[in-house]
Symmetry: C2
Subunit: 225 residues, 2 copies
Amino acid sequence: MADVKLLGLWYSFFSHRVEWALKIKGVKYELIEEDLQNKSPLLLQSNPIHKKIPVLIHNGKSICESMVILEYIDETFEGPSILPKDPYDRALARFWAKFLDDKVGAVVSTFIRKGEEQEKGKEDACEMLKVLDNELKDKKFFVGDKFGFADIAANLVGYWLGIFQEASGVELVTSEKFPNFCYWRDEYINCSQVKEYLPPRNDELLAFFQGCARAHAATSASTQK
Amino acid sequence: MADVKLLGLWYSFFSHRVEWALKIKGVKYELIEEDLQNKSPLLLQSNPIHKKIPVLIHNGKSICESMVILEYIDETFEGPSILPKDPYDRALARFWAKFLDDKVGAVVSTFIRKGEEQEKGKEDACEMLKVLDNELKDKKFFVGDKFGFADIAANLVGYWLGIFQEASGVELVTSEKFPNFCYWRDEYINCSQVKEYLPPRNDELLAFFQGCARAHAATSASTQK
């Protein structure tokens, strides 16, 4: 049996991307939870450049960066494919995955920064949502009729963004502003694949990010000039 | 014969990445130079999300984002492979390509911004060079013994960075600070693949970026408070 370990975090959407891909393939894996305040020697040794999760360790070899790991999983393990078969559809899936990844910073700034940085984050995140609102009209999946690569990359906007919004009280997405996106998101959360893969501890996830939001607010208040 | 068009720019390293990949595969293509001040209807229609070059148009279908295009070229056309064959080596190549792509903003800030933004850019670019200096010690290529995916992504640091440095007068790379990187870079520029693919108009490229640097300096002086 393949020896598959995932250095990850239960609340990270990057980490869950990899878990979802492993579940699609039916690969058994051991999840090793990292403590980001006190990173393990295994993490530092497996990802010496970024020192970040997720890291997949397969038969002793480590692979870093969530979307790079997804390509590796798709090329290495049997089971349903994650990327489409057709090269043009594969390019579309990679295009949307990159589009979503490029906007992670904007989403994070929206919910945990303050002042100018937050405003810039909101502006960029709204631009992204406008594009997605247009793209996802009458679509269930990003490419074709199968949940795959870009849909996994979309877990930030499909699920975590709602949690961030609820936890922080910052309103970014409304069904008035982004009706198609909201319709897609409701379908996304309820589609069988996502439903099965979602973090089982939804309440705990919300409570965790509420704690983060409170801590950020306190830090921000105490350092405000 | 396949109908292959590239919407590109003679001075852009993103555009040259795609040209290099097409040359490796021996694919004949028509390069359509874009004017970024007056973007063509074809560009706006082919890349409606980003409205940026490069765009590959293959049999009427458009593919955007340079590294996504490289994957498409590798999967679509016969000829020498651009990514390695082994999934783990492919993951390494994608990891380094992403690493290099994530640092484009820092390099650009170093050479065209001023003040705080430039300082932050320099700091990030130096971090990148430190990593590369360590990684490229005694290495000719990023992965294995063949010029490929990550080496093409490295055209910014392998070639354009030197031009930016010369054009702007901003000193970022010295052989004292980054000896292994500089050794690799000299080999890179002189390796047969790169030598053949380099922009034929080296002097023109330098003159072009000197013009850009002068224009930025003038704008910056006139808007300085």
